[in-house]
């Protein structure tokens, strides 16, 4: 199993992040949880930075849904009595997100809204394809697979919603 986390997750960054082959269940759990935490931080940033109702509504949705999914993940981890394992892909996601947050923080107004919306779309696209094509096929524990499948349905909704938000902001002008 080989997959590439491409530059799109990091917006304009050209760094491609390649995950190691054959991540185990605990690493996958860690990365999936981390991906949710990252989007929660983006959402907090958007709520602090933007006055645009569509952007704030989207950010509130991200907070609500990603917190719920990660709560479910936390409950499952407790139930299974396991500890998720940090790994290169989680680290790459975190450093990419820190860089993106720094970029976003330097913007304001419409420039911020458009950059946030574009990043949300790209981020959900790359997370979704990673969860769908790499994590779900690789994971061996049934309840974890179930949780990832549910997470994927949720994040696919977000991807569609991000697309609508981006279109509504008319950033191309």
């Amino acid at each position: 199993m080989k997959y590439l986390l491409s530059a799109i997750a990091l917006g304009l960054s050209v760094t491609a992040v390649q995950a190691q082959d054959g991540m185990n269940d605990l690493e996958i759990a860690h990365t999936a949880y981390t991906a949710g935490q990252i989007d929660i931080r983006y959402a907090h940033l958007a709520l602090a930075m933007s006055d645009t109702p569509a952007v704030r509504e989207f950010a509130a949705l991200m907070l609500r849904d990603h917190m719920a999914v990660n709560d479910a993940a936390g409950a499952l981890i407790t139930e299974l009595n396991v500890t998720p394992q940090d790994n290169d892909l989680s680290q790459a996601l975190l450093s990419g997100a820190a860089q993106k947050r720094a970029e976003l923080s330097a913007l304001s107004g419409k420039a911020f809204d458009c950059a946030y919306a574009a990043n949300e779309l790209g981020y959900h696209q790359i997370v979704n394809s990673t969860v769908k094509d790499s994590f779900i096929p690789a994971v061996t524990v049934a309840p974890l697979k179930g949780l990832l499948e549910e997470a994927l349905v949720t994040f696919q909704q977000h991807e569609g919603h991000a697309e609508m938000m981006l279109a509504g902001l008319q950033c191309g002008n």
Binding site: A68, A72, E150, G160
Partner: protein, 110 residues
Amino acid sequence: MRQLTHLTRRRFGALLGAILAGPALGGNSVQIEIRRFKFDPPEMTVPKGTTITWINRDAAPHTATDSGGTWDTGELRRDDEAAITFDQAGSFDYVCAYHPNMRARITVTD
């Protein structure tokens, strides 16, 4: 439209809901499940007096919210349920207020 129970939680909530929504009405009771971002069933026709209970099976919170603004379950977290009794005929398109592409319809007959 009477909203009978609001945000009941899990088993205790289900019991409470049953007490509040149950025998006092003498009407039908039916259930709509919310799972994987869909209302199931998406379309339902019921006689007036029916109590409909929505149950959310997703981790993500949802609502069932009348597009015409006459009723709303409020936020339902996983395994939360809310019951609403429909005592007037009519057709109601509704959505999840959080995920507006989740659409469904209830038709209430005389």
